[in-house]
Amino acid sequence: MKILIIEDEIELQQSIADSLEKEHYVVESAADFHSASEKISMYDYDCILLDIMLPGVSGIQLLEQLKKQGKYGNVIIISAKDSLDDKLTGLQLGADDYLAKPFHIAELNARVKAVLRRKIFEGRNVLELANVSLDLDARLLTVNGERTPINRKEFDVLNYLMLNKNRLVTKSALAEHVWGDNVDQADNFDFIYYQIKNLRKKLQTSQARIEIDAVYGIGYKLTEK
């Protein structure tokens, strides 16, 4: 899997690259419009992370270039603007997703995976790990071929952790993903803990070969047993 990061802020570019390399992707970076434009026309990428606020020019132009070259549907826009207009323009021009800065690493990871999955598996929306499979469309959890009942929030939590398997998912990243934006209540963490506890119990009784570990009390990590 080859991913291009177009981000003028070197520190952020580096962090994103570090994170994506952990997922064993081939990562390339561009910090300005010209090198980005060059790379886009020379190579094919499975996913492009595009900061639309590049110095001087708008990243929207790169989107237009991609569209002209017939390279559709694998761009995630990263923007500090978080404005609905930008989002709509971006999506209209063929971007797949829109991520507002600042974001959690886990969130970026999940979004990249979603884009790649759409590109590669085309339609088959099922996450599989060990003996566990999660049908994202029907929202069903199957362990060892047997359906395991799970509530809505538990499903969201498990989905997120599976997308970020072997990676740290902080509690706040989890809370934000599950609750949407604007979470500012510490009570949520308490609730997350409660959901994880239930989830662990369900995974254990259904003899799933995955487990959720707590990491330093900061977050969780899902691993294969």
Partner: protein
């Protein structure tokens, strides 16, 4: 008190003084004039009587005023000093026509001495004078009526003329009252030829221009500042997350890092809320469609259902129709979800959230943790009750800003140990 009434009050005081003074002066002058003319008449009589007395000596025997208006007294000799005419005011018993009894009446008397056939006589001629008290009374009434007419005249002038003159001022004032910074309305404007009003208008408009400029700059600054902060915050957050992921720390170090991460996350939330406020105030949410508030409500309740049941908070919804409101759907969602989150999270275990969606308003009440919140402060930015430190203190400020934008009325009240927030939608 209105300017018009105030000027009437001042004028009436001043006029009372002037009219009073004029009445006094008028009275004195008039009395003087009357005396002058009476004296002239007496002088004429004197000459006629003396001439008559020279030929008809029987006249000289009239020595009291019973029969006429003159009398003679023979006097011993010519006393030079008394040869001059003397005019005196005196009182006499007289019977006026219409009076039954004799009364003391004021008279003007001329005394003079003349010679007739070697004898000297003192001649006294009288003429009745006006009664001063009657004169005063008459004058007083006249002055009073004059004053009344004058005031009435001024009121009429005020109402018809001054009100017209001040019209541009009042129209300007009304426009100024409606003017709000940030609502890009036109500056107050009136057409007038009055220099003072034109000066006022230009002075106020200069001031408004300054304020608007400052306001815009401040708004822009907040927007830019929070905007520019997004990237550094993103770097800090991602770096920290990657660092923690590396592991190899002991528990203490991890706790420290977790603390730092929470602070960064708080900054991120704060910044996002500020950006949201700026966007709302900049009217960047321009979408307008019919939103069913109860629809939004159901969605938000579903979102929070599990968290609420975890906190053992019961949510009761009572509704009356769809409550359609013309607004941006994103903002509708923010209003309801902010209020609902507050109601669930600032609740007590086993507490309740009561939601009543009426025809034109929605009320969200929750069991209170403590006492009533100060009504004037709940909606201000960064207000946090007591020891609450996890929130941004901007949630309700955002609700208020959205309501202001659409002219909805949002209010808070405390009743039956419940915090109640009510939004009245004006356009539905």
């Amino acid at each position: 008190m209105k300017l018009l009434n105030r000027s009437i009050l001042h004028l009436s005081g001043l006029l009372l003084f002037i009219v009073g003074l004029m009445a006094v002066i008028f009275y004195i002058n008039m009395l003087d004039e009357i005396r002058d003319s009476v004296d002239k008449g007496l002088d004429n009589y004197k000459h006629q009587i003396i001439v008559k007395a020279q030929t008809d000596s029987s006249l000289l025997r009239i020595n009291n005023f019973e029969e006429g208006f003159f009398s003679f007294h023979e006097i011993p000799g010519p006393r030079k000093f008394k040869m001059k005419d003397r005019y005196t005011d005196t009182l006499m018993y007289m019977q006026e026509t219409g009076d039954r009894k004799r009364e003391l009446e004021p008279v003007r008397m001329l005394s003079t001495v003349f010679e007739s056939q070697g004898k000297y006589y003192e001649l006294r001629i009288i003429n009745s004078m006006v009664e001063e008290d009657e004169l005063i009374e008459g004058l007083l009434w006249e002055a009073f009526w004059f004053y009344v007419v004058l005031i009435a005249g001024i009121i009429v002038i005020n109402n018809f003329v001054l009100q017209r003159l001040w019209k541009p001022f009042y129209s300007f004032l009304n426009q100024l009252k409606k003017f709000r910074l940030g609502n890009t309305g036109d500056f107050p404007q009136v057409k007038t030829n009055t220099n003072e009003f034109n000066d006022l208008q230009s002075a106020v408009n200069t001031l408004l221009e300054h304020s608007t400029e400052t306001f815009e700059r401040q708004k822009q600054f907040i927007g830019n500042a929070s905007h520019e902060l997004q990237t550094p915050l993103a770097i800090a957050l991602t770096k920290l997350e990657l660092f923690i992921e590396k592991g190899g720390m002991d528990k203490m170090q991890a706790e420290e890092l977790a603390g730092i991460m929470h602070i960064i996350e708080r900054m991120i939330r704060l910044n996002k809320s500020l950006l949201m406020l700026t966007k709302i105030e900049n009217r960047q949410f321009s979408g307008s469609e019919e939103v069913s508030i109860t629809g939004v409500l159901h969605q938000c309740v579903a979102e929070l259902r599990e968290a609420a049941s975890h906190k053992k908070v019961a949510i009761h919804v009572e509704e009356n129709g769809k409550l359609p409101v013309q607004m941006d759907p994103v903002l509708a969602n923010i209003i309801i979800s902010n209020l609902l989150r507050n109601a669930v999270f600032h609740n007590i275990p086993e507490g309740t959230v009561m939601i009543h969606a009426g025809k034109n308003s929605i009320t969200i009440c929750n069991t209170a943790k403590g006492d009533a919140l100060p009504e004037d402060k709940v909606f201000t930015r960064f207000y946090k009750p007591g020891n609450e430190s996890t929130g941004t203190g901007l949630g309700l400020a955002i609700v208020k800003a959205i309501c202001n934008m659409y002219n909805f009325v949002v209010s808070y009240r405390f009743e039956n140990f419940q915090h109640c927030f009510k939004i009245e939608f004006s356009n539905s």
